[in-house]
């Protein structure tokens, strides 16, 4: 999932899923052991509990962001912050449990009347929706509206370019385009609506994690007659507690006011405390941080922590420690070892052994940046075992003897030459690459660093198969956050052979291992989450054995928690505060 920041505008954005993350985050994180009781909570309290709990309603909740929404249309967005934010006006079939801590990523019904019921092999899912759900104009929301919302978001002839394509990949549906022909849903039979309150999804394969996809904004209802294609984002028809107040002005502002037709009794996840929600767009990150700390805005909408300047200021300021939260961002920073370029697994393992993880971790910011990662799955994901380390070394400085042995095994006893691709805008990526370059030189592996613009990194360079082969790009520095917090939601896109694309390729190492692929498929046929978690742990180990991905850091983010904000807690599913719970108390 994308975090955010300048996308399009260069920095940041972790695609939900995407890569992104890396950039944005200049935001390291505060030292975890800092104490202090000032402010409305204690240091890092918001990571595990609700801070400043209150049911006080009213007031205007003020957000600000530098870069724009990718789209306010719930059918056409992939930024983590907007998956969180769009819930103000777009209800989804399912939702993440609105509470902090270990149960935060469990699923509960939102518009649904209960959890989806699968058939025996998880290829058919039936969801009932509640009766009496209404749009902002008072008309009733039907199952057909949800079917249409999903159809238009994935089957539109390519006009929506932002959102994920999970429905397209998994629905048992022939080619379809809702914008062709007079009846948009004629021939769209992969989702059936036997009555106004039932949806039956027919999938083309077993997909035990399908309910996670039903939390995504693409499941928001869209009335067919209101759909204006990409222009729909100007005024999305609300199904949630707030509706657009006037039109969305790209690059300038989005204001929401209460939707009188929303019934709180039907909604288990939205507190809807403020009377208004306002987003100022186009405010520079430094200015956002300044306003946040001064109380002029309540929340940084981007949700990927304070910028580097404010980070440095806050970390050492005792008076604000009680206003800081320092959770794991949910993302992994890592280096792809491109299997078609460095074909011999022993050569890749030599790199894994030679890498000085300690210095790479320091390059990423040391203590304040996060923890050294030696496995694939981040700590919050079931099946993660951060203790496992297939390439151990003293103080994580690298095991040069083992590296040399591996080099001999792969027939390159004197080392070899290769290239590392980095995103030039991300200072930490570049420093990570430099540190890797130095440590590899110790065993004769000469790696040259090649810098590319972040905006085209996956489209034209590291994620382009042709470019990688023609230019002998053996490694690339990357980062990834989960589309949803499970092993599949996190790692399938970066390690499943079927995810390899010619361009825009996020399985950048091009790992296509039959055993790994088989385990992914097996997981999707496994109902029990605990059993799935153990499969994900096996995949983690296999990917490490294949030396396709070199984990660097599980990074942490530093959030400033405003004094006037109520009901604040970190929701790991969105990798930021849960916007739906927030209220303001101006005292």
């Amino acid at each position: 999932m994308r975090g955010s920041s300048l996308r399009k505008r260069t920095y940041g954005f972790v695609a939900l899923g995407a890569a992104a993350s890396i950039l944005l985050s200049a935001c390291g994180g505060g030292s975890t052991d800092a104490g202090g009781d000032s402010g409305s909570g204690t240091f890092d309290a918001g990571s595990t509990e609700v801070v400043n709990s209150s049911d006080k309603a009213g007031g205007t909740l003020k957000y600000a962001i530098e870069a724009d929404f990718d789209s306010t249309d719930p059918g056409n967005t992939y930024y983590a912050f907007n998956w969180n934010f769009s819930r103000y006006y777009a209800r989804t079939l399912l939702a993440f449990n609105p509470e902090p801590g270990e149960h935060a990523t469990e699923l509960i019904p939102d518009m649904a009347a209960g959890m989806p019921e699968p058939n025996d092999d998880f290829t058919e899912w039936t969801v009932k929706i509640q009766e009496g759900l209404k749009y902002e104009d008072g008309t009733e929301i039907t199952a057909q509206d949800i079917e249409y919302g999903i159809a238009r978001s994935n089957f539109n002839g390519g006009v929506f370019t932002e959102g994920p394509q999970y429905f397209k990949s998994h629905l048992d549906q022939d080619d379809h385009n809702v914008y062709e022909g007079s009846d948009p849903l004629a021939g769209f039979d992969s989702i059936e609506t036997p009555d106004d309150h039932t949806l039956v999804f027919h999938l083309n394969n077993s997909f035990s994690e399908f309910p996670n996809v039903l939390t995504q904004p693409q499941t928001a209802p869209v009335p067919i007659e209101a759909d204006r294609g990409e222009l729909y984002q100007e005024h999305v028809v609300s199904s949630g507690p707030y509706k657009f107040d006037g039109d969305y002005e790209p690059g300038v502002k989005l204001h929401l006011e209460r939707n009188e037709h929303w019934d709180p009794a039907t909604d288990p996840i939205r507190a809807a405390l403020p009377d208004r929600v306002e987003v100022a767009i186009g405010v520079s990150q430094d200015e956002i941080d300044e306003r946040l700390v001064n109380g002029d805005i309540d929340v940084d909408l981007r949700g990927s922590g304070v910028g580097p300047a404010m980070n440095a200021r806050l970390i050492d300021d005792d008076s604000v420690q009680g206003n800081l939260d320092n959770p794991y961002s949910g993302a992994l920073r890592y280096v792809n070892l491109h299997t078609p370029i460095i074909e011999n697994v022993a050569c890749r393992q030599a790199i894994m052994y030679a890498a000085d993880r300690d210095s790479m971790w320091r390059a990423w910011g040391g203590e304040s940046g996060g923890d050294i990662a030696t496995n694939l799955l981040p700590p919050a994901i079931p099946g993660s075992n951060p203790e496992s380390d297939l390439y151990p070394s003293e103080d994580n400085k690298g095991d040069l003897d083992a590296a040399k042995e591996k080099l001999e095994e792969c027939g390159q006893a004197d080392g070899f030459a290769t290239n590392i691709a980095v995103r030039v805008e991300s200072e930490k990526d570049v420093q990570t690459a430099e540190s890797l370059q130095e440590s590899l030189a110790r065993v004769g592996i000469e790696a040259e660093i090649k810098s590319f613009p972040a905006a085209d990194f996956f489209g034209q360079y590291a994620g382009s198969q042709d470019y990688v082969r023609e230019n002998d790009i053996g490694m690339s520095v990357s980062g990834w956050g989960p589309d949803w917090p499970t092993g599949y939601g996190f790692a399938s896109k970066i390690t499943h052979g079927e995810a390899i694309m010619e361009t825009g390729n996020f399985n950048t190492s091009e790992l296509d291992d039959p055993e790994v692929n088989g385990l992914w498929d097996k997981a999707l046929e496994t109902e029990d989450p605990t059993e799935r978690a153990s499969i994900y742990e096996q995949i983690d180990t296999l990917v490490m054995e294949q030396a396709a991905i070199m984990p660097v850091v599980f990074d942490k983010v530093l959030f400033y928690r405003s004094e006037e904000l109520t009901n604040v807690y970190y929701q790991p599913a969105y990798m930021m505060y849960d916007f739906m719970a927030l209220g303001v108390d101006r005292g």
């Binding site: 994308r2 300048l6 996308r7 399009k8 505008r9 260069t10 954005f13 695609a15 899923g17 995407a18 890569a19 992104a20 870069a67 724009d68 990718d70 789209s71 992939y78 238009r152 539109n156 002839g157 390519g158 006009v159 929506f160 370019t161 932002e162 959102g163 994920p164 394509q165 397209k168 809702v178 914008y179 759909d227 204006r228 294609g229 990409e230 222009l231 729909y232 984002q233 100007e234 002005e249 790209p250 690059g251 300038v252 100022a280 186009g282 520079s284 430094d286 200015e287 300044e290 306003r291 001064n294 002029d296 905006a455 085209d456 996956f458 489209g459 034209q460 361009t503 825009g504 996020f506």
Partner: protein, 337 residues
């Protein structure tokens, strides 16, 4: 006179055509020479995980696989005659002059530009008033009191003004005047028509910051010009006639000094209206400049073309106005019909 204006307008149009062609060439042709494929160009417009279908649809919508000449003709045609875009089941007409549609912000370019223009106009003209009055006044005083303490102080300050970039003075002003001492409100543009007082309060700091940079140049220029003119024979004659010093300075010395000032003013205003990128970015004003920088960063080609064209139009217009002002300021100048 009319003949002159028409000729100048014709030359201006020609200039705009050249600017359009060059900009088009830079952003559409150069990437091709660098080996970027139509799909690669399309990838700039689609999200982080583009499907081949979305790429193909974008290539077709933008005509990226057409020969460049065809694309250019299409662009000019939609500029002159408008164009139609299809959204979902809806067809929307983009009336001439249609600058195209941004697939990054999912909105047509011209209305976006026009929405943001009031911010930039407010910034540009407000700042210009301050820098012209301030700069010229200081320049005249410095020239008249040449070598005095005031002169040295003023010219020293001017040197500082010319040397300090906006992102330094602007951030300093924000840090202290807005955040630390709270003397000014948080900058968020309020339209003049909505609340003139709030508009003034919000725009004041950006005006002063932008004006400080320019006023310094104007003060130095005015001082130099005045000193030169004050040594002219006709000034001595005017003084010999017994005219008051005030009349000598303001009626006879200042007017010719203003000619070069107005020349640079025309260019400066044109430039600022084309987008005061630094000032708008520092003060988080959503003007044309901020739109320009967003579009450059995201390689939003239709917006880049639109902003460039608008900037060029402002420069052409401002220059024309300046040329028409010359004879009014300096009786020695005559426009040849």
């Amino acid at each position: 006179m009319l003949n002159y204006i028409l000729r100048r307008l014709g030359a201006g149009l020609l200039l705009l055509a050249v600017v359009t062609a060059v900009t088009f060439w830079i952003f559409y042709v150069l990437p091709r020479w660098a080996g970027v494929t139509p799909q690669g160009m399309a990838a700039m417009y689609v999200g982080k995980a583009p499907t081949p279908e979305a790429l193909a649809a974008t290539v077709e919508r933008l005509g990226l696989d057409e020969p460049v000449a065809v694309q250019f003709v299409e662009f000019v045609r939609s500029l002159l005659f408008g164009q139609e875009f299809t959204f979902g089941r809806e067809t929307v007409e983009c009336a001439a002059p249609c600058l195209g549609y941004s697939f990054t912000t999912n909105s047509p370019v011209l209305p976006q530009l026009l929405d943001r223009l009031p911010v930039t106009l407010s910034l540009g003209f407000g700042a210009a008033v301050i820098w012209v009055i301030g700069g010229v006044a200081v320049g005249v005083l410095s020239a008249v009191k040449k070598g005095s303490f005031f002169d040295r102080l003023a010219m020293g300050t001017a040197l500082v003004g010319v040397s300090l970039p906006i992102y330094f003075t602007g951030l300093l002003a924000l840090a202290f005047l807005v955040h630390e001492w709270e003397l000014f409100p948080i900058s968020r543009y309020v339209p003049f028509t909505e609340n003139p007082v709030a508009w003034f309060q919000v725009m004041f700091l950006p005006w002063v910051t932008l004006a400080f940079l320019h006023a310094a140049q104007y003060a130095r220029q005015t001082r130099a010009g005045m000193l030169e003119v004050l040594g002219e024979d006709y000034i001595r004659t005017a003084r010999a006639k017994g005219l008051s010093e005030r009349r000598v300075i303001f009626k006879h010395a200042l007017r010719p000094t203003l000619t070069p000032i107005v020349t640079i003013l025309g260019l400066d205003i044109g430039l600022v209206l084309g987008g005061a990128i630094l000032t708008e970015t520092v003060f988080s004003l959503n003007g044309v400049g901020a739109y320009a920088i967003d579009s450059i960063v995201s390689k939003d080609l239709p917006v880049i073309l639109g902003v460039t064209l608008m900037g060029a139009i402002f420069i052409v217009i401002c220059n024309l106005v300046v040329d028409l002002l010359y004879p009014v300021l300096d009786p020695r100048v005559r426009i040849a019909g």
